[in-house]
């Protein structure tokens, strides 16, 4: 199984979970059906024309119907964003396999899960809505609830014990480490350049190679650069995890982010940045580190609020081997690889586990707050949205591309604060993919259907699709695809004793052949040729031979013949041996040599020679021997 991401967009259908009682949210009117029915008014609330579920947010799980997940042997994880559904799989499906991931992926993935669990668990909700999920009821609801897919499968958030149990099933791997899977294939993680520890995977046998390219980046950010060379010579390249905002250049967006941030603060407003506790935030802090002095923002406090803020900032500094070269070299100076250490030392950046406690004492405005969750449905961000939403001096800047910012803002409407959408997605765009594919030249590309056509909202942008030859094979949800290659060869090992007994015969310069008589031993998808057992000794007793002692009978083999018969020389040879009436006829496949007096035909073709004579065995043998003189035996 390649990755197990969690679709969190389902949470956008729910009301936010405020940390403190929100009069505004609690006063939202219940939703009433067109016919005036009010049976859903406890579950569904209406806010500025949108309907939300008033319940603990639920998540859309990976597809479980198509495949029995208990039969999955291995899960390969690409990056920490692609493992958020892991507890649902390892703890609920009977999964008994192994999960492979790099160490930063596991550690930061744990932080993301911990933050998610913490954000939801600390705001317990008294009620749980389920009536609206009834299919009959659901079709009466307004969009987007009406169109939500498989709502019955939506699940509440997992718990920390489940997270710990899931993570305990992960086996850590390093870049370029080769891992044997049951002898059938070898898997290798490669740096994908997207996030700390993010990987692409090579899955290969001795003669086939499949590359799985997930979230990858060619930009120079903090992680190790993408390993492209190892992707070459792939039979199939499975491509996914491209940028979600192909029209947004990350550099331009960072500039936009900084400009809007500075503009807001200079006008006396606060800036709220809903974000994940790891990933782009490191780059943003680095960018701000260079920018705040020059922009005259030295006195503006930057707050990073997350239950895992401290761990995230510290983890980033210790994963030196997973960082880009520049940051690695800093470690040896020794300096912290990320400049946010200095921001913390100089008190420009302060981090807190939550808004409670120290933060409320230190809080000064105007300020910049980085906090989660980007969906604006849970986490400390909900508090700041409620607090700052009423003033047009404040700005919320969306940098994570996973959620539609308009949908995220819907339950906060009407909103006076400014909203800026600066999605920073460093993953591959279509131009980069095109160059990558030209570089690594896979025989076939397999990708989601969405990548093979322009985005629905920009149908004219034919540049926003994968352009490669041959055209990519596309797949859609729940579609079963046969990858376009066949396993035609297997590698077989020959035991040294057997190899020693072989006598190769050179049939052409550089090509030698030998006949092999051996026993093929197959175990764990490994094939070994071993010496055949010695011929059975004559039975010492007259006991009946047991079936288990029965070994294959090795008959002496006739030699194999090779080569071709030059007709002219063969005729000369026949004449030398007393055949005077030799005639040669050309046929479509070869020649027929006719010995008229002996009433014999010698039919010479590319792959066979027949001697046809009437019951004259000595003649046949004589002719056979003459033919064999022209052929090689081994």
């Amino acid at each position: 199984m390649l990755d197990c991401g969690l679709d969190m967009t389902s949470t956008l259908n729910f009301l936010p979970l405020p940390l403190v009682q929100s009069p505004r949210l609690s006063k939202l009117p219940g939703w009433v059906l067109k016919d005036g029915s009010t049976f859903l008014d406890k579950e569904l609330k209406e806010c500025s024309g949108h309907v939300f579920v008033d319940s603990v947010p639920e998540f859309c799980l990976p597809e479980t119907e198509l495949l029995d997940l208990s039969t999955v042997d291995v899960i390969l994880i690409s990056n920490y964003h692609c493992m958020m559904a892991l507890p649902y799989i390892t703890e609920y499906t009977g999964f008994a396999g192994t999960v492979y991931a790099t160490e930063p992926t596991v550690q930061i993935g744990r932080l993301l899960m911990e933050e998610l669990v913490n954000s939801i668990e600390r705001v317990p909700k008294a009620q749980s809505a389920s009536m609206w999920k009834n299919k009959e009821v659901q079709r009466l609801l307004p969009a987007p609830l009406k169109d939500a897919v498989e709502v019955s499968m939506w699940r509440k958030c997992y718990t920390m014990p489940e997270v710990n149990a899931a993570l305990s099933k992960i086996q850590l791997v390093g870049y370029s480490q080769k891992i044997e899977l049951f002898g059938a294939v070898q898997v290798t993680p490669l740096s994908s350049g997207y996030a700390l520890g993010s990987s692409n995977w090579i899955i290969q046998s001795h003669y086939e190679k499949v590359s799985y390219v997930s979230g990858s980046s060619l930009l120079t950010t903090h992680p190790q650069p993408m390993d492209q060379a190892s992707l070459k010579n792939s039979d199939v390249l499975i491509l996914t995890g491209l940028t979600q905002i192909p029209t947004a250049n990350p550099d331009g967006m960072v500039g936009e982010f900084c400009s809007n941030l500075a503009m807001t603060v200079r006008n006396g407003g606060n800036v709220l940045v809903p974000c994940y506790p790891s990933g782009v935030i490191y780059d943003l802090l680095e960018c701000l580190y260079q920018y705040i002095d020059s922009a005259g923002l030295s006195n503006v406090p930057f707050y990073f609020i997350s239950p895992v803020a401290n761990s995230s900032l510290e983890f980033s500094q210790i994963f030196a081997e997973w960082l880009c070269h520049n940051k690695q070299t800093k470690v040896y100076l020794p300096e912290p690889p990320f400049p946010h250490a200095e921001l913390i030392q100089t008190n420009k950046l302060k981090h807190y586990p939550s808004i409670h406690g120290d933060f409320s004492n230190d809080f000064k405005q105007p300020c910049v707050v980085f906090t989660g969750h980007p969906s604006l449905r849970f986490g400390d961000v909900v508090h700041f949205m409620e607090l700052w939403g009423k003033s047009s001096l404040n700005t919320v800047i969306f940098t994570e591309p996973d959620f539609s910012y308009l949908d995220a803002l819907a339950p906060y409407q009407p909103l006076a604060m400014k909203c800026v959408y600066c999605p920073i997605d460093t993953r591959l765009n279509f131009i980069q993919v095109s160059k990558l594919l030209k570089e690594v030249q896979p025989l076939h590309v397999v990708c989601p259907e969405q990548y093979t056509q322009p985005p629905p909202t920009q149908a004219h942008r034919t540049d926003l699709m994968i352009d490669c030859q041959p055209p990519p094979m596309s797949y859609r949800r729940a579609e079963v695809l046969t990858l376009p290659y066949k396993r035609r060869y297997e590698k077989i090992e020959i035991m040294p004793e057997l190899a020693d007994s072989l006598v190769p015969l050179e049939i052409k310069p550089g090509i030698s052949l030998a006949t092999v008589s051996a026993v093929l031993h197959t175990k764990d998808n490994k094939h070994v040729l071993q010496l055949p057992p010695k011929p059975p000794q004559p039975p010492a007793s007259k006991k009946r031979k047991r079936v288990s002692d029965d070994v294959p009978e090795c008959k002496p083999l006739k030699p194999l013949l090779s080569g071709s018969i030059p007709v002219d020389q063969f005729v000369q040879t026949l004449e030398k041996h007393g055949f005077s009436d030799v005639k040669v006829e050309d046929t479509a496949k070869g020649h027929i040599v006719l010995l008229q007096e002996a009433e014999t035909l010698i039919q010479i073709e590319e792959d066979s020679t027949h001697i046809i004579c009437d019951n004259d065995e000595p003649l046949r043998v004589k002719l056979r021997d003459l033919v064999l003189k022209f052929l090689q035996k081994f």
């Binding site: 500039g255 936009e256 900084c258 503009m263 200079r266 920018y291 004219h460 034919t462």
Partner: protein, 859 residues
């Protein structure tokens, strides 16, 4: 670090032209006993002197300045000895041989010296078959180059032409046209042009006609070579001849060129449709030069049909330069002009059509000149599409920038095409045709095309007929301004185009309906400008400030502009940027704040806005930058702003102008940046002229326009104002400034002051008589200032120094010092003595035998 050349060779590159004195120094035995030709000996011994163009220039200038007679060689046998000795060398250094060839050519440029060298049998050994032509040295490009240049120098008289034509030299030149060294090939081509022109013009006795065409022998050979090459099937030979013809028609406008053209025109025409030999790319320049020649343009029916045919047959890339050139030519017939315009606009027409549904927009053109499919195929390939569009746009911008262009461009359609193109480039346009889709795919995020299109868009702002599209135009411009994907260079161009169109929008000629949109547009512009002023990219902040400064400069008198600007956060953000870490941005911020002050501080009803700086704070902040900023650009910007304020009469609103100028001068005169000091002198100059204009004596009682003098005061009182402003100390110190422009400007101002206070020369002369020390000029003043001896000659306030604040002393100084002489002195290069050619030649002699020692002692 050791260099390959002696140090004086490097140094000499910066030196002045040769003078006659130099020439004499070069060849005449020096008084100290160095014999004539010593320089040549030094050169011959030097390892690699000939590759330096200095020597060629040196001798060329020298021989031009000397007597062209043969006596030069006779009196200076070292010259022929030098050539002979080089030729006698078994394996001369190629550089020395090259130099020798050029030297011989220069010497042989005079007919008498040519004969002398012939008698010495040197020319055949240099330029004939016995020369380096047949030696291995010929493989060295420097030798071939020296040969061609030598021949070019020599071919200034008929004997030289005959020598070349009869001795096989011309064939060598023909072959050198295809030389692998581009320098040699180019020189050979130039030589042939010269020989042809010179031969025809010096050897024909009666005008040539097509009927009676008796070319001189040399010209005959060259023309035959051209005609033969054109008839050959060799593309390289044809190209060489076409290049030659292009140069001939480009440089020579004599009537005989018509005869030459009549002989080759048919052949040239055939190349338009020739498919086996691809030389079409050479034809545009040739035809343009022919068309531009007065010999052809007045004759009806000669060149124009061929030009028309070329416009039809050449590809759009090839025809573009021809079309653009024709449109600049005012004598071009109207029908050809229309056709050229059609060719030029065709790519834009194609863009317009590709973007729209059939029949939705009429496009730019009614019909096309060439096959539209050719153009479409060019636009469908990324490299050719971008290149063709950029070339077309550059030509259109050039045409639009011509003040008196006679080209009737369809401005509205062109604007629509440009907007379409810009929308293709940012992916905002959904094309309706397959061609449009392909072009769109190619152009998205293509910065080159964006920049070029915005350049044309800006140029189009001054043309009429576009008002109906202004609203859509600003939508496109704002989309570019707002997009985070716009690169800094494209953004700068967008700002330039936006400012031009905003200015246009405010012009009375613009329709009222358009002006109604102004408020909305300005609001949007200032909103996006706020964001860019906070950009982390300094280039963006810089171009935003430049844009703002331009807008204020052009629109500060418009109410709606002022209101929009002041109601935005732009003024405050601009003031913040005075502290920017990037010096360019600080400089631009200073300029913008300076302009902003005209609205916020100096306008009759200056509004109260929430800026951090009031009038006094702004001045104080700028003065702080002037005195403390570590970079020159912001300081230069401050002094320019102050000068502008003074010019506009705004400083009077700040404080007493005298005090203001005085304080600025005291800061500026300490500045290490000479441009700041120079700009400070501009401020002084304006202050002086304004004060004199206001309080000085009336300039001319008979002037038609009454003088601005409101109250005339006596000269001493006037000088007292200048003295209080501490102006003279700055001016006199500036006279001794180590940077010449500063000294020159100070001297100019003092001459103007002298002219005001001593309008009649004899008054001044009487002062000089009374004070003879004043005539010693700047050297005296410089010495005196440095040594404090000035006090001995000028009345002082009791100290030994000059009191620059004493009006009477200054009056005396103005009357005593000969500023004209000082002016002449400072106009000379500060290093004119050391850098004179005489100095160079003395250096050469001085290095005899010491080259090795000096090799490391270089710059």
């Amino acid at each position: 670090m050791a260099l390959s050349k002696p140090w004086f060779v490097e140094r000499s590159r910066r030196r002045f032209a040769m003078t006659r004195e130099c020439g004499l120094l070069l060849l005449v035995p020096a008084p100290d006993g160095v014999r004539s030709g010593e320089h040549l000996r030094v050169i011959r011994q030097d390892r690699n002197p000939g590759s330096d163009p200095l020597f060629s220039g040196l001798f060329s200038a020298h021989t031009r300045s000397l007597d062209p007679s043969v006596e030069l060689l006779q009196n200076n046998p070292c010259l022929t000895e030098f050539i002979t000795s080089v030729l006698a060398m078994p394996e001369p250094n190629p550089s020395i041989l090259s130099f020798t060839l050029r030297l011989a050519g220069i010497l042989a440029a005079s007919e008498s010296r040519f004969q002398h060298l012939q008698q010495e049998k040197l020319l055949a050994r240099l330029f004939g078959a016995d020369g380096p032509l047949n030696s291995t040295l010929w493989e060295d490009a420097s030798v071939r180059s020296g040969w061609v240049k030598g021949v070019h120098r020599m071919a200034q008289h008929q004997p030289a032409l005959h020598f070349l034509c009869n001795g096989g030299g011309l064939d060598v030149v023909f072959s050198l046209q295809g030389d692998p060294s581009l320098f040699v090939a180019s020189a050979a081509s130039k030589l042939l042009v010269h020989m042809l022109t010179f031969s025809v013009e010096s050897e024909t006795t009666k005008p040539l006609t097509t009927m009676d065409c008796d070319w001189p022998a040399c010209a005959q050979m060259i023309i035959k070579h051209i005609e033969d090459s054109l008839r050959s099937r060799s593309a390289s030979h044809i190209e060489q001849s076409l290049k030659l013809l292009t140069s001939v028609f480009g440089s020579c406008r004599a009537m005989w060129t018509a005869v030459l053209w009549s002989g080759v025109a048919k052949q040239v025409e055939s190349f338009l449709t020739e498919e086996t030999v691809q030389v079409q790319h050479m034809l545009a320049s040739l035809l343009l030069n022919v068309a531009w020649s007065p010999v052809f343009c007045d004759t009806e029916g000669s060149i124009w049909p061929l030009v028309t045919s070329a416009l039809e047959h050449l590809t759009p890339v090839q025809a573009g330069p021809l079309a653009a050139g024709l449109l600049r030519f005012y004598k071009c017939p109207q029908d050809v002009r229309i056709q050229a315009l059609t060719v030029l606009l065709q790519p834009m027409d194609c863009i317009l059509r590709a973007a729209s549904q059939p029949l939705e927009h009429a496009g730019l053109l009614d019909e096309s000149v060439s096959d539209p499919t050719t153009l479409e195929s060019l636009l469908c390939s990324k490299s050719s599409c971008v290149s063709l569009l950029c070339q077309t746009l550059a030509r259109l911008e050039e045409l639009l920038s011509l003040a008196r262009s006679r080209v009737d461009l369809p401005h509205a359609s062109l604007l629509r095409a440009l907007m379409t193109l810009l929308q293709f480039c940012n992916g905002f346009l959904s094309p309706a045709s397959p061609l449009g889709s392909t072009i769109s795919r190619i152009l998205i995020n293509c910065f080159r095309v964006q920049r070029s299109a915005l350049g044309v868009l800006a140029a189009l702002s001054e043309r009429k007929g576009c008002d109906a599209l202004i609203e859509s135009l600003f939508e496109v411009l704002l989309a570019y301004l707002e997009s985070p994907n716009t690169s800094p260079t494209v953004l700068k161009k967008t700002f330039q185009a936006t400012s031009r169109w905003l200015v246009h929008l405010q012009e009375p000629s613009c329709s009222n309906s358009q002006q109604q949109h102004t408020e909305k547009i300005l609001k949007d512009v200032f909103l996006v400008l706020q964001k860019h002023l906070c950009s982390p990219c300094w280039e963006v902040r810089d171009s935003s400030l430049e844009f703002l400064a331009v807008l204020i400069d052009r629109l500060k008198d418009r109410d709606e502009f002022r209101q929009s600007l002041l109601s935005s956060a732009v003024p405050r953000l601009t003031e913040n940027l005075l502290e920017d870490p990037e010096s360019y941005v600080r400089a631009s911020a200073v300029t913008a704040v300076g302009h902003l002050a005209f609205i916020t501080h100096f306008a009759p009803e200056s509004p109260v806005v929430g800026n951090q700086y009031n009038k006094e704070n702004t001045v104080a902040k700028l003065q702080e930058i002037l005195s403390t900023d570590t970079e020159g650009f912001p300081r230069r910007a401050v002094i320019s702003v102050f000068t502008e304020w003074l010019t506009q009469g705004c400083t009077a609103q700040l404080e007493d102008t005298e005090q203001f100028v005085s304080r600025v001068i005291q800061t500026v005169e300490q500045d290490l940046d000479w441009e700041v000091r120079l700009r400070g002198l501009e401020l002084v100059s304006i202050f002086c002229s304004q004060t004199i204009s206001r309080l000085g004596r009336p300039e001319c009682p008979y002037a038609p326009v009454p003088s601005k003098v409101t109250k005339s005061i006596n000269p001493i009182e006037l000088l007292q104002i200048f003295c209080r402003a501490k102006l003279f100390g700055f001016l006199f110190r500036s006279l001794c400034d180590c940077d010449r422009p500063v000294a020159q400007r100070a001297c100019d101002i003092l001459i103007i002051l002298e002219g005001h206070f001593y309008p009649i020369r004899h008054l001044k002369e009487s002062q000089m008589t009374a004070n003879p020390a004043g005539g010693q000029g700047i050297a005296w003043l410089q010495r005196t200032l440095r040594q404090g001896s000035l006090a001995q000659n000028f009345p002082t306030d009791g100290d030994n120094g000059v009191d620059f604040q004493d009006a009477e002393s200054m009056m005396l100084a103005l009357g005593t010092i000969d500023f004209i002489e000082i002016h002449d002195e400072v106009n000379k290069s500060s290093a004119h003595v050391e850098e004179s050619p005489q100095s160079l030649l003395q250096d050469i002699l001085a290095t005899v035998g010491t080259v090795e020692d000096n090799e490391v002692d270089c710059y």
